[in-house]
């Protein structure tokens, strides 16, 4: 049957729609959890009516998602085992998609029903690591832990760990600065029951809410977009493997860069005979594992792949001129070569500055072809996030507004915490790092409470920390367990 411009079997079509439904459900649940943080202060301080606030936040989330670069989306996907990313259409690929989505959704829902501001980002990353670990345990010839990109995991872990501390310290500092610069008493009062604050305070709070909503859309929305792209590339490789709207100039520039790099790589691998394309793929896959070592063969494999890419693209005016299998193969070649070049560059293994420059330029050209997100995916994710917000905001609003500090949140505290949260999320977005909106905002509120000498409700802070500490281990276990279970079921049904 015809779906999304490709002919699919009924089974594949059902799997595709089921996986899309689950990915959008993840974003919907993410809306329960995270987007509510953006509207927490404006609703709690009676600055905006709940319905107006969630619609306003939903609109800015949409804008944030639509203008996002996709860097975070592909940063999250880089945590997945390479062999599964390249074979999403296989049984193990299906199991991976289901396991990481279901594990993250279960934890998000559980903590939401108990009113704990746990992080959706931690949940997703934990389940990704769980899938990677289970894959390394279940696959033959793998060492335990090999399936996880530990370098990327460390990078992501650090950003998730540091961002709440940044939120706490900066929000506290900003509140003290505001107290010094703005001497208006109204700003430092708790909201009165059913009474809106003065107009200028409302304006300030709406502005900070807008910033957090935009930042959330541009960072958190990307996690769902990345998962949807993974599903689309796995099941509809002919349509979504490479960006078919790429211009002729870009295609030719990539072909020329790849040709030039292939000569440079060959110079590092003199006397090494490469058996062929498959051997080159195996060498690069082995190098991309955590335990992978850079050898002369790796340079040779990159050279082989670059020549293949250059030959495929030479003389082409559009990527639609390639046959469907060629497009799938091109994607695998581009992905492996780009990731391998990235790892080499990060390890500073290229001494010649000219070589470094051309390798970085080739990587950037390759990423443009494979790391793209269609507009309909962005719109679908934004709608799912917005609907989640409309249903689930209340519980987190109460936690943020009343349960973190011993006194209720003042207007200035709300503004300071949100301003810092928006800035932190947007800065992380720029570097392609996922951060937790929940933790940045909650720690921001806690920081303002500390700076205000309001005192902190230790019980809630303990719950927050508990959710923070437990999220990764629980979702790792859930992800690994569900992956092993689904894989077993698929193998029993003869799907490999």
């Amino acid at each position: 049957m015809e779906l999304f411009g490709e002919t699919l079997s009924t089974g594949s079509a059902i799997f595709l729609l089921l996986a899309l439904g689950l990915a959008l459900s993840f974003e919907f649940v993410n809306g329960f959890h995270d987007t509510a943080n953006a509207v927490a202060t404006v609703i709690y301080t009676h600055t905006l009516k709940p319905m107006v606030a969630v619609v306003w936040s939903g609109c800015w989330n949409l804008i944030g998602v639509l203008t996002s670069t996709g860097a975070v989306a592909f940063g999250v996907l880089a945590l997945l085992p390479v062999e599964l990313v390249l074979n999403v259409g296989s049984g193990a690929g299906f199991a991976m998609v289901f396991a990481l989505l279901i594990a993250a959704i279960i934890w998000n829902l559980g903590t939401w029903y108990l009113g704990l501001p746990a992080s959706s980002s931690h949940a997703l990353i934990g389940s990704i690591m769980g899938v990677g670990l289970a894959n390394s345990m279940l696959s033959k010839g793998h060492e335990f832990g090999e399936g996880v990109n530990w370098v990327k995991a460390k990078e992501v872990g650090l950003s998730l760990l540091i961002s709440p501390l940044v939120g706490f310290v900066c929000a506290a500092g900003l509140l003290l600065l505001m107290k010094f610069l703005i001497r208006n008493k109204e700003l430092y009062q708790s909201p009165e029951k059913d009474k809106a604050p003065p107009l200028w305070i409302r304006g300030l709070l709406v502005l900070t809410c807008t910033g957090v909503s935009y930042g959330h859309g541009s960072n958190d929305g990307q996690k769902g977009m990345g998962l949807i792209m993974l599903i689309l590339i796995g099941i509809l490789p002919a349509t979504y493997a490479v960006d078919q709207s790429t211009s002729q100039e870009s295609i030719q520039a990539l072909a020329a860069d790849a040709q030039a790099i292939s000569f440079q790589m060959d110079r590092h691998a003199i006397g090494i005979a490469m058996a062929g394309l498959q051997a080159a793929s195996d060498d690069l896959s082995a190098y991309l594992k955590t335990s992978g070592k850079l050898e002369e063969r790796t340079y040779g494999a990159i050279g082989v792949k670059c020549r293949e890419i250059s030959d495929t693209l030479s003389g082409k005016t559009s990527l639609s001129e390639l046959t469907k299998p060629q497009r799938s193969l091109l994607r695998s070649d581009l992905y492996l070569t780009s990731e391998a070049l990235g790892k080499i560059l990060k390890a500073h293994k290229l001494d010649d500055p000219e070589e470094q420059k051309s390798a970085a330029s080739l990587k950037s050209h390759m990423d443009k072809l494979t790391k793209f997100i269609p507009v309909w995916v962005k719109v679908a994710v934004a709608i799912a996030l917005g609907l989640g917000t409309m249903i689930g905001w209340k519980r987190i609003v109460v936690t943020v507004g009343e349960k973190i500090g011993k006194t209720h949140l003042t207007y200035a505290q709300g503004a300071a915490a949100e301003l810092v949260a928006a800035a932190t999320i947007l800065a992380a977005d720029k570097y392609g790092l996922p951060v937790s909106t929940t933790h940045v905002l909650s720690s921001g509120v806690a920081g303002t409470m500390a700076a205000n000498h309001s005192g902190l409700q230790m019980e809630t802070l303990r719950n927050l920390l508990l959710a923070w500490v437990l999220t990764l281990p629980v979702t790792v276990l859930l992800g690994a367990g569900i992956f092993a279970f689904v894989l077993n079921v698929l193998i029993r049904f003869g799907i490999k």
Binding site: M1, E2, L3, T10, A13, I14, F15, L16, L17, L18, G21, L22, S25, V29, K49, P50, M51, V54, I102, I105, I106, L109, G110, Y113, L114, G115, Q189, S190, M390, I391, G392, W393, K394, R395, V398, E402, K403, K406, T407, H408, Q457, E459
Partner: protein
């Protein structure tokens, strides 16, 4: 300085603690607090009336009645299971409906009839989807400890 206004839940926790501390030594009181806390995880939730209050039509839309606040652990587990059932069964229904609709759509040659088929096809999803959601809600109400 303004007296801090406590939420009903927090006020209740403080009152409970105060009464316990008046009657026992510190060590005994700590033990009792811990026991009460553990029991409270499994107890029925606090009265919904305490935190809900009157709501506008818009708020009623934003907070469906199937998400009452202050859930105990067993209730939260039931809600999570129900939400997962909604997600998994809803997504499965969407997948089956999507495949069926794509088949019907591609078998209609006329552009006019294709356009005319959009509404019936949409209803064909919405009606069973609504029934599924209502069925899960009814099941949750039936097994929820509060309603026993």
């Amino acid at each position: 300085m303004r007296e801090p206004e406590l939420s009903p839940i927090f006020r209740r926790v403080l009152l409970d603690r105060g009464s316990v501390l008046c009657h026992h030594s510190k060590k005994g009181a700590d033990k009792l607090i811990m026991r009460q806390k553990i029991l409270s995880w499994f107890a029925l939730p606090l009265s919904q009336a305490e935190s809900a209050g009157p709501r506008s039509l818009a708020e009623r839309f934003a907070i469906p009645h199937n998400f009452p606040p202050n859930l105990s652990l067993p209730e939260a587990m039931i809600r999570v299971a129900a939400a997962m059932a909604r997600i998994l069964l809803g997504s499965s229904l969407f997948a089956v409906w999507g495949v069926f609709s794509a088949r019907v759509w591609s078998s209609i040659p006329s552009y006019f009839w294709r356009t005319a088929a959009i509404l019936p096809l949409a209803l064909l999803f919405l009606i069973p989807f609504t029934a599924l959601m209502a069925g899960i809600s009814a099941m949750v109400r039936a097994i929820s400890p509060k309603h026993r």
